[in-house]
Symmetry: C2
Subunit: 402 residues, 2 copies
């Protein structure tokens, strides 16, 4: 087992908020002294079965703690899933059958176990304890918090202010999640920052029953390939954990340079020392493309075999690198001072594009590469040099000769 | 069975608010047509075991419906009683043992059955259905209403505004009461005006499960003997249903004249026609004291045997009426213009009081009667007439002779 200090460094890498540092250090020390693993809780809602590396941020963090020897427990929120929202107003809370819940949970777990070690992970369904609760138990649970406290939660606050109805039963979803923590005697619970209220409620409930309070650990939101929006399937800016190695490798290469370090921190299990070294290289002027190449290799390796990764790299090199220019490509003799714009009509003659305006559209949309690098509309007036190779669309190449 | 119209007249006598008239008329018609009694619900909190005729207002109303042939069901809120308030903050909600709840319920019922017909009354404990509810059932129950709706209740609204904590579990007390109405398929629920929110919640819940909605019937608050404050044990302005006939009779005689009709409406089962006749007598100038004498007889008869009532009347007449002056009482010759104050020292000489100031204290506190009528300090300078009889304390009489 690593020393508590070393563990602390790995555990807190990339974490956005921690409640709180001191308690975490104490728990790690105690765990180390007694040789007793901490209980790490992650609650999953079985309604969204497909995960991408944005979702995986918390799972990777958990994996790092698993590798440090701690006990990971995945809670499948099947009780909530089976009840759904009796008012039928909340889309995410349609009542699911037992079979649906189990099926969703299986799909989910199959993906999670691409990251976590299946043999070292406990999976529990919260209906195990929640379904047994009587009205009296529920009253006791409800009595641990107040209406005012509940209405502090952002979404409740907004809805209450805007007079959008909040069903009384909705107050129970945070309480159920908190009850799960008590059942597990969880030491650490992880979530995205949108889980702040619910995870802190777990601390509250543990305290009220005399348990040691869990550490609340919140991971930042991961921006997608556009570098701006939260990674999401519907925005198309995501990298799915189930995507083939070639797709994954290529997508990582599209990550904006400004996010390289964040992706290293949140989407890989690299040691903080390694990440520090990479920061130093970038600061010293290393080509971000080269660093990203390494990142793509690391991330792809997390989800694919070495063989698949090698194939993905070869594929990428062939399709997207300078070397990938075929030997026998058409040549075009140009005058001194010729620009991409000034020779564009030739591409129509060569049947590469149906019209100049179509070429410009492709240029704007990133479908044109100069010497293996994607270029945009800003480069339309760039002077061409002898030997420059332009790639238009997926397979049309032209070499300029002066 | 009386016609629905006649029943309606009796049922609505003295009622403060009815939700709503039209539905009540429909229910009475349907009950009459199908020869099927209505289910009349009264919920009782077993925490306050001693009842006075202020509490009895709703029970008398129920008794009138029982006499009309409807089915009365008393719900003992033992489930709530046994849970209490888990936060321990609400005084009225201390968790009671099974034995305590049963014992309180028995005391309560013994008093209720001084009014209701024991054989025609169903008594049910709501733990019968509430204790069986699972977390899932509770969620469904909670989903029938909203936080905003709940916070409309006066006491919640005030506490929320003043930032006095409201436990989430407190939202369940109205819901439990509503659930009781669903269990009973209640047609009418009665309560004081302080029960408005809870009883209307019963209507809401019945509607949400597809039942016909109960009629909500609210009885006014009965002022006590002071004519101002709500009748209450702690204020000492009450008439207990367990009090001896003499005490009860005497206390009714102390009711302010302005409340005679209200007491007739709320504390007796007299027919509306009878009450109309009494109103007419009063309007025609009848002595309110005589009317009250009749009221005292009616009310005392509701809780005591004819023999006891006769004894109480004799006792009252002997102690509080003019006739009650014994034959052989000391006489005191007084000068023309003598007042109670001017002859007061004689009462000290006669050993009726230890001092004049003590006599004045008794006068101020209502311990002195002139010709059988209580007098106060304002009458200290009243000129005495030949033959006037003064009663000082409980047994000392003096007759003035000029």
């Amino acid at each position: 087992m690593l020393s508590p200090k070393e563990q602390y460094r790995i555990i807190t890498k990339g974490v956005q908020t921690l409640v709180n540092e001191e308690e975490l250090m104490q728990k790690l020390q105690k765990s180390y002294d007694n040789n007793k693993p901490l209980i790490i809780k992650l609650g999953l809602d079985p309604s969204a079965p497909d995960i991408h590396i944005g979702h995986a941020v918390v799972i990777r963090k958990i994996k790092q703690m698993q590798d440090l020897g701690h006990q990971v427990v995945i809670i499948i929120g099947d009780f909530t899933g089976k009840i759904g929202d009796p008012t039928g107003k909340s889309k995410g809370r349609v009542a699911l059958s037992d079979e649906q819940v189990r099926a969703n949970a299986k799909t989910y777990c199959d993906q999670i176990f691409k990251i976590l070690d299946r043999d070292k992970t406990q999976v529990r369904f919260n209906s195990e304890w929640l379904a047994k609760m009587t009205f009296e138990d529920v009253i006791r649970l409800a009595s641990t918090t107040t209406v005012a406290r509940m209405l502090e939660r952002d979404d409740f606050q907004n809805r209450y202010a805007k007079q959008v109805p909040i069903g009384i039963h909705e107050f129970f979803y945070p309480l159920m999640q908190a009850r799960d923590s008590v059942e597990l005697e969880a030491d650490i619970e992880l979530g995205g920052t949108d889980q702040t209220f619910n995870i802190l409620m777990g601390r509250m409930l543990q305290k009220s029953v005399g348990q040691e309070q869990q550490i609340a650990m919140f991971m930042p939101i991961l921006e997608g390939l556009d570098g701006v929006e939260k990674m999401s399937k519907s925005l198309g800016n995501y990298i799915g954990v189930n995507e083939p190695a070639e797709v994954m490798f290529k997508k990582v290469m599209e990550v904006p340079d400004s996010l390289i370090i964040k992706y290293y921190e949140l989407c890989t299990d690299e040691h903080p020392d390694t990440i520090d070294a990479i920061k130093a290289q970038l600061a010293a002027g290393a080509n971000p493309r080269d660093i990203k190449y390494g990142l793509a290799k690391v991330i792809t390796s997390l989800y694919h075999s070495e063989e698949e990764v090698q194939k993905a790299i070869s594929f990428y090199d062939a399709a997207f690198s300078k070397k990938a220019i075929p030997d026998d490509i058409p040549e075009l003799t140009i005058a001194e001072g010729a620009t991409i714009g000034s020779v564009a009509l030739s591409f129509v003659e060569m049947k590469f594009v149906p019209s100049k305006s179509e070429f410009i559209r492709m240029l704007k949309q990133g479908g044109v590469q100069l010497n293996g690098e994607k270029i945009g509309f800003a480069e339309i007036d760039k002077a061409l040099a002898d030997g420059d190779v332009l790639k238009i669309g997926k397979k049309n190449f032209v070499k300029f000769i002066k």
